[in-house]
Symmetry: C2
Subunit: 387 residues, 2 copies
């Protein structure tokens, strides 16, 4: 049996267009919030892992982990981890592994992205670097374009409708309403989504997650340490997998193989099955991706994700509450921070004090995707330590 690791602290900044806050300001605020939440001193941190996709292009700053250690006053080894929009999750896994290996008793994983106010190329150009530069980005294929191809195939193969995709955004905005950190708190209707500008057919503006500044942090501890703190939330299982970088190299456009592999690994290490999961955080960078996530994670049959959403099953209070605080669409998507924000939101639910609290929730699962599915990370958290 592998060593047990728990989340003992969470913290984040507001997500949005934060014109008054720089990259270092964001790191400082989220990091300090997580230290306060855990009620520990920064000197107790044994290692620091920073999830960040593209501060080099967005802010002219690489070596972001050294910056984080510096501004937080954490005197510990500091490493940046990157896997495009799954950067937060690979930083989290590095912190987890550091504790399992015995190198650290307490480790901080902090995700950050400063996407507005950029010094380099535009945000969409920078984000395209998550795909294959030589075969996708160089010919003008943006991420909206990539997911539009995926959406069109899903509609063709399974009869998924624009209304079903729109419903994903509608529910996410409904959930984001009570989240004080969310970028968007306004309710929207299916007709609003369908009437919004077409970005990449069939994806409308309101099918797309926004450009966001923000940071989120979690503090992890070994079993021995975590048991001394209130409300540790345990990492029951974790999985990570890779797929081809470019979409055209895959057998199917309508499933993400890496999600399936990562989920299989996470469920196997957790020794849990899907019925035990009370809520999900999934990667709704574009509405279609939430539908595909529900299918690839095994919570509904392949091709039935649209109908699952249409039936309202993903709302808080229903069968499988998903993105209970707004997901990427409403909470915002500072790419390097998203995976950590997902873990913060699940932790709030499992502590029992979330806005939109899912009653009696004890287990939650997150799925964080890098690129168009070349990286997938799945984690299963629990309020109980498990076997």
């Amino acid at each position: 049996m592998s060593k047990k690791v728990a989340i003992i602290g969470i913290g984040q900044t507001h997500f949005g267009e934060l014109w008054d806050q720089s990259l270092r300001d964001l790191i400082l605020e989220a990091g300090i919030n997580s230290l306060k939440d855990a009620n520990i001193d920064r000197n107790q941190i044994n290692s620091l892992f920073v999830g960040n996709m593209s501060a080099g292009r967005f802010a002219g700053q690489e070596h972001v982990a050294a910056l984080a250690a510096d501004v937080l006053g954490v005197n510990a080894p500091a490493t940046r981890c990157e896997a495009a929009c799954a950067s937060g999750s690979v930083a989290f896994r590095a912190a987890y592994t550091s504790i399992v290996s015995g190198e650290s008793d307490i480790s901080m994983a902090i995700g950050v992205e400063k996407m507005t106010d950029i010094s380099g190329p535009g945000a969409l150009t920078s984000l395209a670097a998550a795909g294959d530069q030589e075969w996708e980005a160089a010919i003008g294929l943006t991420f909206a374009g990539l997911y539009a191809l995926i959406a069109r195939c899903h509609m063709h193969e399974y009869g998924t409708t624009s209304e079903q995709m729109a419903m994903v955004s509608v529910v996410n905005h409904e959930h984001g309403k009570n989240n004080p950190y969310a970028q968007f708190k306004n309710p929207i209707a299916v007709q609003d989504v369908l009437a919004s500008s077409m970005v990449a057919d069939p994806l409308h503006l309101l099918d797309c997650s926004p450009i966001t500044d923000g940071s989120a942090a979690v503090i992890l501890a070994s079993e021995e340490v975590a048991k001394k703190y209130n409300n540790p939330i345990w990492i029951l299982g974790t999985g990570q997998a890779a797929d081809t970088l470019a979409l055209h190299d895959r057998k199917s456009f309508t499933e993400l193989l890496a999600t399936k592999l990562a989920a299989k690994q996470a469920f196997a290490t957790a020794g849990a099955d899907r019925k035990a999961i009370d809520l999900l955080e999934v990667h709704d960078c574009f509405s279609i991706n939430e539908i595909i996530a529900l299918e690839d994670l095994g919570f509904c049959d392949k091709g039935k994700g649209g109908k699952f959403v249409e039936a309202g099953s993903i709302k808080v209070g229903k069968e499988l509450p998903t993105n209970t605080l707004g997901g990427l669409k409403a909470a915002g998507h500072p790419v390097g921070a998203t995976g950590i924000r997902q873990l913060c939101d699940i932790t709030k639910q499992l502590r029992g004090n979330a806005p939109n609290q899912v009653k009696g929730a004890t287990k939650g699962l997150n799925l964080n995707i890098g690129g168009s599915g070349a990286t997938a990370v799945v984690n299963i958290l629990s309020s109980d330590i498990g076997d």
Copy 2:
């Protein structure tokens, strides 16, 4: 006692201006060379860690680890690790930790940088992102500028001379002569260094490591697996430390605190002392940094590094052979690959079949620096498994 981990395979590309090879070509060549050297199949790799500083700015490509898994056909979790010019070393440490934690039996760490033929800002601008963007790069302080400040202080405080710094480059070129992968194989004299263009006073062109394309890979294995292979080289100790990102926040300009902390940790985990070390690989991004490294690692007294070099003690055949295959200056400095290249070169020496073989060498140490010393990694390798 921590689990034992060994290097069972090494591989690299030529280092230089490789106009015919893209980022993916470099990864492919180094990765395959390391698999061949280890005599294993790519399907045996359980995890992949990529050291890369700035492919986003140099080549418009983030998500480099997914690219590497894709081109190498490695079906395993893939994470990029970054700490500026110490990116290779933090990827190496992630692979090491993955094995110690039990997550992997075999892991590949591959470093890569494609610095010529760039799509974004110039190489020096991109490299400045390793320093503090807001306090250093934004006012035009390049890395040559930062190390020039360090060199000037060292000259002032300890009487270090331009001739002594030049001697670092002279010895590195002498050592690079027999390295088939080296960017520069031409011998140079102290007078050549002093007569070369002034880049940032007191650093001349030939005090500076070059802009380089290249990739290097190591394959690590657990004790159980490694013992089945020929010539495993054991990782006796490893250490990593952080310091302030900006130079102006430090107490001293003439020592790198992170080096001292990382070395202390590496020697402690190795249970070895300095007398046991037969050869060094240190981070001679600028000649002054090799002198400071010798001091901060404790191989000569503070302020005596210049004299140590002047006496020829760092040459193969003398007291402490250093950068035996040319170091960053002559072998080249593809920033994300350098830390891994250092480990490849030590491995060759400890296997006993290096060009410029150090007779009877059983233990070697490498020091890889990120930025102006905000990150330092020290590893101690041995041909014996140790206690």
